[in-house]
């Protein structure tokens, strides 16, 4: 009987507090996890909003870029500020790209046999 009492004493002294501690720890863990999830959800929502704002700004910038890059705008700027002119077709240079990594070599075509630029650039 004395032996049995000792066992029960150990049970109530160690296991019950342990079980209670585990229970409390479990409850607090769940609460903590849920609150953390909620906090993260708030953070994500904030980031979502920031993302939306950034996307809005990006769209505005894209539209502005498209406006600025319109050919009319480029031409107006080129004509007015930079002094560019539309090329005369006589002075257009034809370049034929060949495969390979060797550098380009430029030459002015002078002789009659070398007049046709396209023919010359062929291998």
């Amino acid at each position: 009987m004395t032996h049995a009492h000792r066992h029960r004493g150990i049970f109530s002294f160690v296991l019950i507090p342990l079980a209670v501690a585990l229970l409390l720890f479990g409850i607090f863990s769940i609460v903590w996890l849920r609150s953390s999830v909620r906090t993260v959800e708030y953070s994500i929502a904030q980031l979502d909003n920031k993302r939306m704002e950034t996307l809005k700004e990006r769209k505005m910038l894209m539209a502005e870029k498209a406006s600025l890059l319109s050919i009319q705008n480029v031409k107006d700027t080129g004509d007015g500020k930079v002094g560019l002119v539309f090329p005369d077709r006589v002075k257009v240079i034809y370049v034929k790209k060949e495969k390979g990594v060797t550098p380009y070599k430029a030459s002015l075509v002078g002789s009659d046999s070398q007049r046709d630029g396209r023919r010359l650039s062929e291998p």
Binding site: E41, Y42, R89, V90, R118
Partner: protein, 566 residues
Amino acid sequence: MRKRAIILNTAIIFGFVAVFLRLVDLMVLNHGRLSERANIQQLKQEDIQVRRGFIFDRRGRELGVNLEVESLYCNPDAVASPQTAAYDISRITGRRADAILAKFSSKGKFVWVERKLNLEAAERIKKMGIKGLGFMSDAKRFYPKGRLASHIIGAVGIDNQALEGVELKYDKFLKTPGGKILVTRDATGRTLSKGEDMESKGNNIVLTIDEGLQYIVEKGLDNAMLRWQASAATVIMMNPFTGEILALANRPAYDSNNSMNAKDFEKRNRAITDCYEPGSTFKIIVGAAVIEEKEVNLNTRFDCSKGAISVGNAVIHDEHKHGVLTFKEVIQKSSNVGSAMLGMQLGKERLYKYAKRFGFGEKTGIDLPGEVSGWIRPPEKWSGMSLGTIAIGQEVAVTPLQILRAYSAIANGGILIKPHVVSEIRSPDGTLIYSFTPAGNKAAISRQTADIFKDILKTVTEEGGTGKSASVEGNQVAGKTGTAQIIDPKTRRYSKEKYVSSFVGFVPADNPMIAMIVVVYEPRGQIYGGVVAAPVFKEIAKQSLSYLNVPREDTNEKNVLVVERR
């Protein structure tokens, strides 16, 4: 002591039982009702923001995009001091304060105050903290190139509903159904992450037009309008082999960003919605038909020396007497008398058959709204003079696009192609949804006839031809001039003052890169297609060939810098 312990224990047990029972009440008995109430408080239904797909040109340049804006609404009953609020808002939006005040006096709980405010203005109004006002995210269609290609791109209304052009024709691809999404919010109204994209975007459309060519065309058109003080003008540029519209412009035109204030005549896409009598540009029908039917050869001679010919009870005149002309010269010099003779030689049935083969009297099938079919009567309804007048391009009504398509058939070896403005449609993630594939193209004439006629059209822009001023240095142009009288609606007779001048052709003649028609309505000072429209063709063609890097056929002449790899 024991008694007190029993009381305490009993109280604790009762307490726990009470809590347990309440929990059973909350979690079991009233669970459904309470969770529904919680959902109402915590869940909020939000609209997924719907955005139209973008429109690009053939090189991927943006022609139609969306701007993020905010629309301002109010609950008129909740606005505290309407007069002050109206004044403050008017300072920012530029709208009259009394107009805003009228909105605040409206009935109902929801009234739009100002649609599509830019974000900066919306932010300034928000900072005022006026009670009773609210903002809603919205999208505004924006066309970065303004007036450029407005008749192709079209426009949308205040609610982004399609109104014109590609926006209307391809609305079902550009728009998206959107929908609603449930979001969780806390007691203070803050929403938690939705975990989903709150924006739904329509498909993107890639057009066949090229912004560069479109700009060149529109500039040329503006110059022509200024030079000839015309009432209207149209230019269409097309790839004669594929039917891709490279540029299309009309004057008067409008800015797609401001379509609400545009007038109806500015919105009209004359290239496909307006008919006119083509005049001499229609002579290719009778010309191609007599070659195809082997009725004539290039040297068959026609006596046009009288300068006039009687057809039925009408007399058809030449502008001046030509003498005896070969078949080739009839087309080159655009002789009405010679063409009428060709028509009579061909006969009603065959002339009508070839007009239909070239697609006249039928829609071209271009993927733009509002196209008309033009008009040509069946032979049984022709009068005695119809054979002669139709041969010279009267008594028929055509659209500029129909004429251009007919000339493209000459350029490409006889095939009547289908013009189109959309090359492909892609989903927002880039997946190909639709790609134009040519189908149903028919042969109008044989390749041999097309080649013969192409050679004849080349002579039109050479010395002695009516379209000399359309010739481009370095590349041969094949084409035809047209000058047609307009019927005066008051007298129902041909006006002696109002004409339509046109030039249609393709360049380089032997390997055409572009086919183009220029139509100038009611020019002042001059009337002839060769004087009014041909120079416009030349100017646009010259710049377009340069833009497309089409080499001159005489580049071996001087100072060519050749760069080659060794």
